[in-house]
Symmetry: C3
Subunit: 211 residues, 3 copies
Amino acid sequence: MSTASATFLVLDLTGTFAFALNGALTALRVTRVDIVGVVTLGMLTALGGGIVRDILLGALPPATFNDWRYLTVAAAGALVAFGFGRRLDRLATPVLLLDAAGLSLFAVSGALKGLQFGVGFGQAIILGTITAVGGGTLRDVLIREIPSVLTSGLYAIPALLGSLVVVSADRFGAVGLPAALVAAAFCFVVRMLGVRYDLNAPEPPDTKRRT
Amino acid sequence: MSTASATFLVLDLTGTFAFALNGALTALRVTRVDIVGVVTLGMLTALGGGIVRDILLGALPPATFNDWRYLTVAAAGALVAFGFGRRLDRLATPVLLLDAAGLSLFAVSGALKGLQFGVGFGQAIILGTITAVGGGTLRDVLIREIPSVLTSGLYAIPALLGSLVVVSADRFGAVGLPAALVAAAFCFVVRMLGVRYDLNAPEPPDTKRRT
Amino acid sequence: MSTASATFLVLDLTGTFAFALNGALTALRVTRVDIVGVVTLGMLTALGGGIVRDILLGALPPATFNDWRYLTVAAAGALVAFGFGRRLDRLATPVLLLDAAGLSLFAVSGALKGLQFGVGFGQAIILGTITAVGGGTLRDVLIREIPSVLTSGLYAIPALLGSLVVVSADRFGAVGLPAALVAAAFCFVVRMLGVRYDLNAPEPPDTKRRT
């Protein structure tokens, strides 16, 4: 394995752990679930986006499902959340940072995988975004929350921008790890600016009149 | 492209636009979503049924996902809903008619695609119905509504009848655009009669005793 | 068809009928649905787990979707629930037993199908569990319930144990119907002990402090 792909693997597994941990913590906060629920919801948050991407690409079985390292890391993240629960609340900031890192890496790797399978420019961007936000969306559906990605904050938009950057870089011939990391960094910065300044995606123009 | 397939493409894109518009309007009516939510839910309503059909057929990537015209038209329908919102309420009747047209076309084209991939008679009818009602069902799940198709009105039944007609026509050797349009017209008429006379699918026999 | 596979087919169809009946009864109990909803939800409960498994394996179209016997038996189970409704409540015990039998058979057949498609040890166990509990989970999402499998009782765990037993047996060279029936019996016994003694999967350690 080259250093570049080893670097990417470590980053991707870190993102997977963060997504599983954060996904399981969200489930614990919102509803009452047992160990089956916590592990299922944590793993679904971490792996669900990539699984939906691979279903749409027809790349089956899905890559992360087939790789025991991803399954193990995702299960571990969920079990840490199960064991420590609310005591992890004081780690809110590192968890938020790791989650933003996961979002960025998943967007970029998802968009690149789309290109690799020969889909078009716009489709690769959509697949990157789905990879990044799909798992959390599935978790929210299972715990009967309206997916937060549809309602407020900046979560899908940084993922979309990161995907756009890496797909554009690819079109202009800038390939490989550097372009991927720049795109991921861009997504990460937009996401953290969104958190810091409490930015939201535009709302329907007549929202106020309606409420 | 032949005139027949050009006709069909135009009809299919019109149905896609109507579904995206109507799906996005439903989302705006029921819950509070931002632009990401409106576009996602509109596109999912328009393309979700066909995507589920293509996943079940193993015809991946899904046809409409791979075709930028469908993605663009679906996004446009959702953005019109986002921009105009409630002001479109006065267009309720044309939107309803377009939605019934979309239902009819999607049922017929979904059933025909099933036959083309060699599935059985009953399976083709199920696939037609899923193509027609699947997108709205997925949207309802995401906005935490019990899918209206499961509870009342005549929505799945016209789609099922339209699929049945076109699959039967195919079995009796009547293929091509005329048979498809007759089947779609039949679905359309049943749907509009349902709306006009407020018809419902049968309810469980002991419903009254239970409530 | 050999006696072994004929035996298995009869058992599997019995499980399908039980899942459809039980799934439709759950839908009738929880919410107000018409005949379209009852049949859809019953069929989804019975066939949904196997469909998700086959999508993950890329074995498309899904086996049970392609086999009219499964579709017919699932529709029949749902229609019996629609026709008799609450009057079936007095049959709660046989329905519970049949449902546990379905759980056991689906777990074992799902895990074996995974192995047949060459997935790893852990993946086969996950696929068995998904086959057993996936349909009920999809039904719960559609009727806007938090899937009970995530919150309480012993439902996923017996399925996981049954899958574990059959996958281990396969690894040690014990193949065929006997190993499958032992694994299914093990799942069945754990499930019924769980029901009898009202056992639950472990809950998060700080659950009490949180409520």
